[in-house]
Symmetry: C7
Subunit: 80 residues, 7 copies
């Protein structure tokens, strides 16, 4: 059995989608990761879910290149 | 006595149901895990419980393949 | 003096009641545990306390067999 | 100087009162403890503070014997 | 440079005031401590700040002797 | 593959933008970092997002030079 | 590259300003620190931000000398 994080090797240089704490999503190109799930992403953007009840729309914020601290990660979705 | 996580070996390549923090459930095919309960799931979907009082229905979100960070896991239910 | 977790050895294969984070209770047959209090329970069910003020009743959810991640445990009550 | 947890040795087999997370108190007979403050208590009961503004009274819940996970403990009061 | 916790040696057997999580204060005589800031206090009392807007007054609760788990401590004020 | 934190070496002495817990942003010149993501920033300022619904505007607070404790960091955006 | 915490050596015996969890600030003279950012401060005072909407003013509370547990620290601002 390979380890869960081994899958990230195949996802290098590809677009990944993350769910992070605080009901936010981040998309970007995965350039590196470490065992704590610290990630380096290029051309990243954060998607803030709009509050539907308040009639708010989803909002995308451009982040550029980012180092994301691993303990904020809920899940990582590499390309299928 | 075997260890609790040993049960996951029998659950490999089968559908598991997870409860994760934030009152969410995730279902998917378990491909690998590690001692922190980091998991790699294929064909995963997240079930958002609807707010009954507000008349909301349960909503299913397709996630594709995901690496789930172990510290978000509350419980894992392998097939019986 | 024995250690607190030693008590769980006597509780193996018996029904235990757990209080877990989020004001929930879980009951099931204890099959194994480890020093982090990760637990493997068979025939588990979760009891959601109803909100008394809202006139809600307690609700029982069948979970089947589960691995519970130890850091969600508040207390474990083995049979007396 | 002795260490804070050394005091618990003198409290073995006596009734202790605990404050735990979530504004709850637990009373019981201390049978064992470990360095993480995991505790084994016999004949334990949990005291739920009533919401005074709502006119609720304090409510006592019998727990039987319990293993309490140490990270839920705020303080332990041994008999004086 | 001495270490911050070294100051506690001079505070042994004297009254200290603590701020702990949940907007509470504890006062008591410091008898021992360890590197995690677990503390043993004698004749301790907890001061619950009253909600000023609701016209509540500060309330003092006698705790007797207590072992306080270190991760609840925000700050310790030894006598000047 | 380089490690995510290696990117910070190239960002030394340049302006970085941080998202930190509590919906706040910090900008400043990165002078040093360590593996916990403790950071030393010069000429830092904190941007408090205004509550749009309440018609509040974004507010900038000058912080001077700061040591930021790493566990408050969500992400770091070095210059592209 | 020096480490972020090295900056604190130059700040010894000078006034530092801290932001700590719970939207509070602390000012005091830094006497010692350790790698966990446990701090010993003399003549410390806590600044409670007033709730502007409720027309509350900022309030300063004198703390005397304090040991602050490092995990409550968000940032430390030494004198420029």
């Amino acid at each position: 059995m390979s380890r869960p994080l081994d899958v990230l090797t195949d996802a290098l240089n590809q677009t990944v989608i993350l769910k992070v704490r605080g009901k936010r999503e981040i998309r970007g190109t995965l350039r590196s990761y470490d065992p704590h799930l610290n990630l380096y992403l290029e051309n990243a953007e954060m998607i803030h879910a709009g509050n539907e009840e308040a009639g708010e729309e989803e909002r995308t914020e451009s982040l550029g290149n980012i180092i994301l601290r691993g303990d904020n990660v809920i899940l990582i979705s590499p390309p299928s």
